[in-house]
Symmetry: C2
Subunit: 346 residues, 2 copies
DNA sequence: TCCGGTAGAGTAAACGTTCTATTGGAGAGA
DNA sequence: TCTCTCCAATAGAACGTTTACTCTACCGGA
């Protein structure tokens, strides 16, 4: 006798046999679809519980080519915002009885291609693409197979895709308003990587916020970063060389702000005594450092819900018009911001 | 005509037709399984590429009840070590042509039950269980269905399970050795939650390290924490009340160390001037705070590989003896440790 | 010529679910 | 009794892949 893997767990037919009905009836009871005599249904339900039946969605996926799975492609998990989004995304999916397929690309095109292939193989019903920049060529197969795509903060849509972005204008407006109220008039900005669309959008939002309060925008107080700690540190160090320093700096994200804090701490510049610092993202770690970071929180859960909602609509509607959603952010005052110092000398 | 979902993408039979062979031959070419005439194989391969064929592993899963998927159940992603492990785990899986099924439990038993159910529905070939404590009852269904289980740092195995743990003894030994070399003789310890096995193991490892260097273990310099920042901060604050303070503190993990740093910073106690602090885990963020945290790094990639290897063995072997693997850790000197202060007065 | 071996390829069933088409009765009306 | 309608439930095909079994053609040896 050949070696055979023990298999064939408990399936609908076995349940059906036990209940003295056909597998179709079991299916109907489980899905509550069509007319089943109440007493039959009750009996079936009892037996399902008794046998501890667990359905096999794989079979359904095979039959319909739909997996109730959404893919999430992230560049990496180094930026803590990504895991926090992932966590929320997974929770929302599970609440909606969907599954998650996670792929990381390390900002590497070959891995992006692999990720897309995995998505296709696993018959995902839609894909969320984090990281504002990506190769169009690599995601082409998704378009070809009409898989709905939602990007995060890409600010661009095509037919069959959606975009969920964050309200940077609102966020920086609240932050600037708060700092203005504390007497700050001279604010710097530690930005993102040059040439990336979202960097420009964030900087523009900062500038607009200044204008809204009649504050001067000083180009010499603007620095480039790279969305990471090191870039933020370097940007802050460079900013400290300015002829007249700002009394507060806003940043493009929390990691950049962490870099700024480190630069300031190492130079003995007190935060918030001598300088106020504001982050953006609202990652958990912001509450762990000292001083705790004042920041603008991006609500990961709402963003996840928006992504899933948009994916659902794109899947159901053949209209396939692109959809844009903007998520409101929330200013969080913590300890890295305070009154503007009275006198500032270099 | 009924509404019908556009489906039936490109399957083996279509490729077969195009190549003038049967689907069996296509399958054989793809899997390199049995004798196919080289020229036929070549022609098939060309057509596969030409048609851009993507296989559907769902069908295979249905047939064999094996999905080439490993599940990962984590309590949450708040502790940055978890996402870092997750990232490594995903990468290693993809390299080995496996898939990941992620589930988070928020340390909530109902969600753990749901997670286990998801694992079973998706026909996973094995499950990695993070978080050293879990309800045995909740994972019972995995045992019943003979799904291999690997726990992380649980230090206990049963038939059909494995455990991957970390070499705390080695880690604390290196840390204490380094501090000893810097002149520290009086070391404190900020531990984990009481009553958890791994907390005891870590504390014992610290104690053993002290003994190894002939140092005194001062019970009054030991505090409980909760593996989180707040717990670490409270523990540090309490430790500062000690009649004679230590010159260095070791901690149960990096978050605890962050809490300690925050407590010290807020009280104007210089690190490492007045007090040295050592973390454990080696999370990325340790390099972002100021001062950068000296710590003991747990290599997430090696741990992931070990988990996957053990799961593979458990799946293949019917022997099903429990397996234990210990992962070596690596001491990383950064900026939160320095020479012991000459004179210490309260 | 016949037999057996072999290379190469094809046939068809199976996995678990869903749903269309169909069947079996029961009841009602003629 | 026959026919029609309606309710409940069943039979069976389909999804895409793999593989045990089968088939064919060819070759060599007796």
């Amino acid at each position: 006798m050949k070696h055979r893997v023990e298999k064939t767990a408990l399936n609908m037919r076995a349940v059906a046999e036990r209940a003295g009905v056909s597998s179709a009836t079991i299916s109907r009871v489980i899905n509550g679809s069509s007319a089943v005599k109440p007493e039959t249904a009750e009996r079936v339900r009892r037996i399902l519980k008794e046998l501890n039946y667990i359905p096999n969605p794989i079979a359904t996926t095979l039959k319909y080519g739909r997996s109730n799975t959404f893919g999430l492609i992230v560049p990496d998990l180094v930026n803590p915002f990504f895991p926090e989004f992932l966590l929320a995304f997974e929770q929302v999916l599970v609440e909606n009885e969907h599954e998650l397929l996670l792929a990381t690309t390390q900002s590497n095109e070959a891995k992006l291609l692999t990720s897309v292939r995995r998505m296709l193989m696993r018959q995902v019903d839609g894909v969320v693409l984090m990281g504002s920049e990506y190769e169009t060529r690599a995601v082409e197969p998704l378009f070809e197979r009409r898989i709905p795509i939602v990007t995060l903060d890409r600010r661009r849509v095509q037919p069959g895709t959606g975009d969920v972005s964050f309200n940077f204008e609102g966020g920086y407006l609240q932050a600037v308003e708060y700092l203005y109220g504390l007497g700050h008039r001279r604010m710097g900005f530690l930005g993102g990587t040059k040439g990336i669309r979202t960097s420009e959008i964030r900087l523009a939002a900062f500038q607009k916020a200044l204008e809204h309060f009649g504050l001067t925008y000083y180009p010499e107080l603007i620095r480039e970063g790279d969305y990471r700690v090191d870039g933020g540190e370097a940007a802050m160090v460079s900013l400290l060389d300015a002829a007249r320093r700002p009394t507060a700096v806003l940043t493009v994200n929390d990691l950049t702000a962490f870099g700024a804090l480190r630069a300031l701490h190492e130079r003995g510049i007190s935060v918030p005594g001598d300088m106020s610092v504001v982050g953006f993202d609202g990652i958990q770690m912001g509450g762990a450092v000292s001083p705790q970071l004042t920041t603008v929180r991006i609500p990961a859960r709402e963003a996840s819900q928006a992504c899933i909602q948009v994916l659902g609509r794109l899947r159901d509607n053949i209209t396939r018009r692109g959809m844009s959603v903007s998520i409101d952010v929330e200013f969080m005052v913590r300890r890295s911001t305070g009154r503007a110092p009275r006198v500032r000398a270099r």
